[in-house]
Subunit: 311 residues, 2 copies
DNA sequence: GAGATCGTGCAATCATCTTGCATGATCGAT
DNA sequence: ATCGATCATGCAAGATGATTGCACGATCTC
């Protein structure tokens, strides 16, 4: 609704070069260059200046981006008001989230939306947290469920409205015959000397595990890398190490493994947040999805955001 | 910058039918229908409902239009801020106005803009007052100089910012040997029994003359209709009647005619207003043009808006 | 100084929108 | 009630604008 070239400019601003932005947007650098040239012409100002072999945003371009955040938010509010005024508004809501959320939370949200708004459709997109925010901005998704990890937009970012959904506690995954398997709960540092099975470096959960271990005062010895929970479970079953799994992650049966809840202060957990484009809260489909997300979170065995608790 | 389909919807709203809106926009009805269909699809709401053989806007569509006024104004403000941030902003400013303004006021405004902003261009478009507002909304003009006549958007219309520029007093045009020609000023009603030469019915100035005569307490006997000042002057010269001309209108020489200033309370005059899209006041080019317009008004022999005066 | 990376311009290609016409529906007048 | 006029919309063909692929000049790194 608002000129998409503003979004192109925004991506150029965050990525720093036209070429990188083009990659992100699935365009060619030539197309990006052309679009921004046209935008600058329409506005009558210079937006980009050559800077070495890259480009630099002018002051005018930075002001444009800063102010346009508010414009986008205002548009979302208008969209919400308009949708509220139409009793039989149809449309689609697109939910995105990291894998566990996509599996554990979003299906029931989608089902709820379909139930409340029969005219509508709900799509689920599995994506990394950072990618989720890009999807929101590109209007390719309307609601994101992400884990709080460093590098994400802050909760006060004017482009988004974010709120806590759930604290997903972490369990220690050990072989069934492991000394810690009989315990009802353990401190993370009790596993400091174990061999560890982590996700692939660079992944969200790898980072999360490292952070949790660092908080517990040690640095894990990484024996193996497993991208999927299933692989990790198999490796633990084989006695090759221990691992952390979030409570929400459902593990396949058939392995001789045990989940032992972690305790500590605070309890090691993934902080799961919802995020929407600022101003879109009142859109009927999104409002329903947010409510359903909260209910889905409350139904899980994991604790809620305010009072994380377990057994 | 903001989706042009909103403007299409707005024209449909004011004109009442898709076909009429298409005429105004120089589109085919099919194109208008398509655009609004796409807009409704993107928003997920119904915008138009069949109503007889025409269409009716839904409540959602009316809310959309109402709110979008503010969005447009906000965008103009952002545009202004961005342009201010660029010291060498280029661009074009397009000035529109009725014929006399186009001839008497706008050239010096355009010259001033070119002088202050050498990088920029200024275009002048001659258009009727009602048309001027359409040009503003369609972003085909940035500053309009119009006469206050019934049917124009009110001065509080959220889409525009309007202010008085000039009160252009009306003169009575009589043959040089007419009894009133020797007077330094006359009351309009002193010419009540004359034969009158008016502009074509439906034109702005025809309406203005009729209104002035009605205010003076008579209804003029219309002997002839002349669309151009030149034609009117020739008819007066030929002794076929009298006429009203605004002070700003320059008459060609060579006719044996006399302009006699009108007096009265209030002095019969055309109220000339400037109008811009709300929020665009601070755009450098527009700000310069507004200032230059005020100066040009002050330089005229006609009176200013606050203290209309003559001789 | 060589190689790599970057931004931009130009012609060819592709997608999207617009047009023209046909259809179904409604309103007004005879 | 019937005919003609007006209106909105769908579909295929055509036009307009955007994107691509490639080339060039400039810049940075080793």
């Amino acid at each position: 609704m608002i000129d998409s070239r503003l979004h192109v400019l925004r991506v150029v601003a965050t990525r720093g070069t036209v070429t990188a932005a083009a990659r992100d947007l699935s365009y060619t650098p030539s197309a990006v260059s052309h679009q921004l040239r046209g935008l600058a012409r329409d506005l009558g100002v210079t937006l980009l200046e050559p800077d070495g072999r890259g480009v630099r945003l002018t002051a005018a371009a930075r002001i444009l981006l800063e102010r346009s955040d508010e414009l986008y938010a205002r548009w979302e509010e208008i969209h919400a008001e308009v949708a509220e005024a139409d009793p039989e508004a149809s449309g689609a809501v697109r939910l995105c989230g990291f894998s566990t959320a996509a599996a554990a939370l979003l299906p029931s949200v989608a089902a709820r939306v379909r139930l409340v708004h029969p005219q509508s459709t709900a799509r689920i997109i599995e994506a990394d947290p950072a990618e989720c925010f890009d999807l929101l901005l590109a209007e390719q998704a309307d609601l994101a469920v992400v884990i709080a990890v460093p590098g994400l937009p802050s909760t006060t970012d004017p482009r988004f409205e974010q709120e806590s959904v759930l604290d997903d506690p972490l369990d220690l995954l050990v072989p069934a015959d492991h000394p810690l398997a009989a315990r009802s709960s353990v401190l993370l540092r009790e596993a400091a000397d174990e061999s560890w099975i982590l996700d692939r470096p660079g992944s969200t959960f790898h980072q999360l595990t490292q952070t949790a271990c660092a908080t517990a005062g040690f640095s894990p010895f990484v024996a193996h890398e497993a991208a999927e929970w299933e692989t990790g479970a198999a490796l633990v079953d084989a006695g090759l190490g221990v691992s952390l799994v979030p409570r929400l992650a459902r593990l396949p049966g058939g392995y001789r493994i045990t989940r032992v809840p972690l305790r500590g202060d605070p309890t090691p957990a993934r902080h799961i947040r919802s995020s929407i484009r600022r101003g879109s809260r009142r859109q009927p489909l999104i409002a329903t999805a947010l409510t359903a997300l909260g209910e889905a979170a409350r139904r899980t065995t994991a604790g809620g955001p305010a009072a994380p608790s377990y057994g």
